[in-house]
């Protein structure tokens, strides 16, 4: 699409089983900031089944309008059904900017939609700014595993589309008293027209925190020595209400499944706190975690490259240091309550 009359900043909210993902609120906060600068409105798109009640949350985070498409066929995310809803809305209203979450489903949807609209898309953005002269969106994103940063423009085509990395942008305080216009739209495709079917959903094991959403991550590496080391990692993670990560070495040794791997060929994370235990800090691991706000590293080898990126480094045997930390944390929390 190429439309110089396009206006408005749009956010495609992300929800699973009616729970809106945190990145959606971060996107709404960012959209509000951009829209105020552009003197434009913020619109949110909420797609799902029985999600009407969730629209209020978008208003609380600054949306002026919420386009709601609530339909049985939209119970589970499917590229084709979600893409059609969003495509129809975008063609009708021509937003200037469209943000989606840089989660697996968000990136899947954004890529399909951008291809269909023949517009530009920047993946996994960590910062957005407006060019003061052209009002074009300057989209900052990491490439080469974060070793290079790129500023991308989409000078002609509209909307300017980006996916936004979770935890990268500041979330405003919600205001529950805010309201806006709720606009219901019908689902575009009937079940018979769809070429994909979700046969089974396998939710994460009970209580397990997703790495990409986590505020705190405790990771283990080769220095654990064996798979039992992850019991200790798990204990520290539980004490901090954190997710468990791992280095490629630990995954390749078969100590923990691949879904826990942090790094260039695993997950890229940016939590508030990343605790690296027995991880030397190979380039490909650093690529996946070095945008964390605070890094704490525990390693026997004082020469380990991980200390080069850590805010706080502890030189020592993790099997001695971690139990002390767990006890100290438990004592601190007990004193609070």
């Amino acid at each position: 699409m190429s439309n110089r009359n396009s206006q408005g900043v749009w956010v495609c909210l992300e929800q699973t089983d009616g729970k809106i993902a945190g990145v959606s609120f971060e996107m709404l906060s960012e959209a509000r900031r951009l829209a105020d600068e552009l003197s434009a409105e913020v619109s949110a798109v909420l797609i799902g089944n029985q999600v009407t009640a969730q629209a209020q949350q978008a208003f609380a985070y600054g949306a002026d309008k919420v386009y709601l498409c609530d339909d049985e066929t939209l119970q589970h995310y499917r590229t084709e059904s979600y893409c059609k809803v969003l495509e129809d809305l975008v063609r009708e209203h021509s937003p200037e900017i469209l943000l989606l979450g840089a989660t697996n489903n968000g990136r899947d949807l954004a890529a399909r939609l951008a291809a269909r609209l023949e517009t530009g898309l920047s993946a996994d953005c960590v910062a957005l700014a407006l060019d003061p002269e052209t009002r074009n969106l300057i989209q900052t994103r990491p490439a080469y595993g974060g070793n290079i940063m790129a500023e991308i423009l989409c000078p002609v085509k509209r909307p300017q589309m980006c996916t936004i990395r979770p935890n990268a942008m500041e979330r405003l305080e919600p205001d529950a008293s805010k309201t806006g216009e709720l606009i219901a739209v019908p689902a575009s495709l009937k079940e018979e027209a769809l070429r994909t079917k979700v046969l089974e959903v396998i939710a994460k094991a009970g209580g397990e925190i997703s790495l990409t959403d986590a505020q705190i991550i405790v990771s283990g590496g080769r220095g654990l020595g064996d798979e039992k080391g992850f019991e200790l990692i798990g204990e520290l993670a539980a004490a901090l209400n954190a997710a468990v990560g791992a280095s490629r070495a630990a995954v390749d040794s078969g100590w923990i499944p691949y879904e826990h791997q942090v790094g260039q060929t695993g997950k890229t994370v940016g939590p508030k706190l990343y605790i690296a235990c027995g991880i030397s800090g190979a380039l490909q691991h650093l690529a996946g975690m070095k945008t964390s706000d605070v890094i704490v590293a525990i390693n026997k080898d004082e020469e380990a490259p991980i200390f080069g990126v850590a805010n706080y480094g502890i030189v020592g045997d993790l099997y001695q240091v971690l139990p002390v930390m767990i006890e100290e944390l438990k004592a601190a929390f007990a004193a609070r309550s």
């Binding site: 989660t103 890529a111 974060g146 070793n147 790129a150 994909t196 060929t265 380039l283 480094g313 030189v315």
Partner: protein, 262 residues
């Protein structure tokens, strides 16, 4: 069953990429190259499917003459055919333009039941070309696949990873899958196949051969433009504590509590 695998040659990820101080582009000359890791998983998945269900595996890439190196790995692993899409007009294509070119190239080559890609290439990290190709070919896409369960005459059933967990999805063929690392362990090429790969003629397809419109490729045909590339400021190392675990463990917890996130 005919399968096309899309692969990309990328700079080796064991080396920190450097920017050319004059052009501000990533330096590729003299840098060791590799086939993007997830593309190797796609290659392996295709070979296993062909072994189970019969059919032929082809491999394609877009790039310069040196990208034949990547295609040779595909051939050495077991692909029957390899295609290089190469034309000066493709220089600077973004993910949209690349999808447009690859989709047209695939269309010009023949009919495929499945197209497999890695979940993303580890240079651009966009994860957009697979979906773009699927859109251009008007077929279903299943992204982030970590298990292929079954393929019948008309359908594929696969498990994909979403942020909330995993889901088993059935898609009508033809379909495009993007592959996770946990899908499989890519095989090493045998010596025999490597020799064969070195002797195999790799056809080079230019824009005219695949019928892409001028103006829809390269830097000019790309919706996005690179405004600036830069190396992020290196993280500064902070305080380091050594000594008795009783002391250092305590300090670590103090520092964590001072962050006031818990």
């Amino acid at each position: 069953m005919n399968i096309m695998v899309c692969i990309k040659q990328v700079p080796d990820n064991a080396v920190t990429p450097k920017l050319d101080p004059v052009t501000h582009r990533v330096v590729k000359e003299g840098v060791e190259m590799m086939v993007s890791p997830f593309d190797q998983n796609a290659m392996e998945a295709a070979l296993r499917l062909a072994e189970t269900y019969g059919g032929e595996v082809s491999v394609i890439t877009m790039g310069d003459e040196s990208s034949k190196g990547a295609l040779k790995l595909g051939l050495a692993m077991g692909a029957e055919r390899a295609y290089l899409v190469c034309d000066p007009a493709l220089e600077g294509s973004d993910s949209w333009a690349t999808s447009y070119v690859l989709a047209n190239a695939i269309k010009s080559i023949g009919e495929f039941d499945l197209i497999l890609c890695g979940k993303q290439a580890i240079d651009g990290d966009t994860a957009q070309v697979g979906a773009g190709i699927a859109e251009q070919l008007d077929i279903s896409q299943l992204s982030y696949v970590n298990e292929i369960r079954e393929v019948t005459a008309d359908y594929i059933t696969a498990k994909r990873v979403s942020q909330a967990g995993e889901e088993v999805v059935e898609a009508k063929l033809p379909a495009l899958l993007t592959c996770e690392k946990s899908l499989n362990e890519p095989r090493y090429p045998t010596l025999k196949r490597t020799r064969l790969a070195n002797r195999t003629e790799i056809p080079v397809l230019d824009c005219a051969a695949i019928g892409v419109e001028a103006g829809k490729t390269g830097e000019g045909g790309s919706p996005t433009a690179i405004h600036k590339l830069y190396t992020p400021a290196p993280r500064q190392s902070g305080e380091v504590f050594a000594g008795e675990a009783k002391e250092t463990g305590k300090i670590a917890v103090q520092k964590i509590l001072e962050l006031k996130i818990i």
